[in-house]
Subunit: 198 residues, 2 copies
DNA sequence: TTAGTATTCGGAGCGCTGCTCCGTTTTGTC
DNA sequence: GACAAAACGGAGCAGCGCTCCGAATACTAA
């Protein structure tokens, strides 16, 4: 798999100029199409928008997950980096956790269908799943550990389970006033909280 | 056998014998296929299993949701009817709510892909969504109200939001030991619970 | 029983998707 | 300018949902 360096973007140094250009064109087109048609949009549509053949997209992004992660990489990184910062700036580890989850939820609900794709058991999305986990799970674990250590919450909660649960709660139409995942997530956090009774 | 109830289809009284027979055959085949391939299984596959043409399935069950609800109708009804019973038998309304949710979760996680379909915003599943809501939402509301009245939980939780959240939490592969929706739902209920400040 | 008719059946067929294959074009190099 | 190597593009195949319509079947009336 793309021996791309970790957080970096050596945008294909040895690649040909047209290849580099096309990669960016496709990324831009995909970003636009994702907004209007969701991350499930037909590859043909993205190719048409980019004025490019389908094979070109598959060449640069072998799976749909690769394309999605490339489009949202910056925002995922920002979310990952926000963890330690919040831990330093918030009133308590629990408050940091709450704010970080808020960021994560904001990210998910504004990307049409992203949460759905994230939790899908479709093999095509496995890489997406993995990327999110690789990048964000350690951050979540750190926040969780800090909150446990501070006595804000009880021990035993697995970061993987929490993150996946939050992701799951964000699934679905985002324009239904009867359902706001944030309210349920707040409830979840409330349940996590330790009574602080001495 | 229930001369069949409100939301039910009279088992096709005026229909021709072969039509009635085929309806049952399809139902049985669909039930089998759903177990092995999930509720998203290709219609062709169900038709083949039933030894029937595709049009026959579409004639009896115009949308996939109709087929799914027909297959699981009994279990959904059982879940709906369990609500009042639990309320009468459990130690507290809160405990009744907890047990009822347990039933609901059991139902969802044992039907491969059902939770996914339930929360999908695909129009094809709208009827499924509606059926679940029509049948189970009042039950959930009753349990919730009782728990509020008993002071077990705080007011303000919307039954729709709770049910959908629970459904969402049940989405995904059901064989992942790292993720058990029940743990998160327990947390959610914990967050719902009022401190019993009496 | 038989003939007639309404009902039901079955699968070919259309449109849309994901993904690949391969002849053509572009790019970088000498 | 010539020539590989790299990249391109879209035709093409397979799988799916859903429909359409000639064929087969079950009821009914004589």
């Amino acid at each position: 798999m793309t021996a791309d360096s970790p957080a970096g973007k050596p945008p294909s140094r040895g690649k040909r100029a047209d290849a580099r250009r096309n990669r960016e064109t496709v990324l831009a087109a995909a970003a636009e199409v994702f907004v209007t048609s969701g991350v499930d949009a037909p590859i043909r549509q993205i190719a048409a928008r980019a004025g490019v053949g389908m094979a070109t997209i598959y060449r640069h992004f072998p799976t749909r997950a690769d394309l999605i992660t490339a489009v949202y990489r910056h925002q995922i990184e920002a979310c990952a980096e926000a963890g330690p910062n919040l831990l330093a700036s918030a009133d308590s580890p629990f408050e940091a956790l709450r704010q970080w989850i808020d960021l994560f939820v904001d990210f998910l609900v504004t990307k049409h269908g992203l949460a759905d794709a994230l939790q899908s058991d479709d093999d095509r999305f496995a890489a997406l799943h993995d990327y999110f986990l690789d990048r964000l799970l350690p951050v979540c674990a750190e926040l969780l550990d800090a909150a446990v250590e501070a006595g804000d919450i009880g021990p035993g909660t697995q970061p993987y389970e929490l993150m996946r649960g939050i992701g799951n709660l964000c699934i679905g139409r985002d324009d239904d006033p009867r359902y706001d995942p944030r309210r349920l997530i707040a409830l979840l956090l409330q349940g996590l909280r330790r009574p602080h009774a001495s």
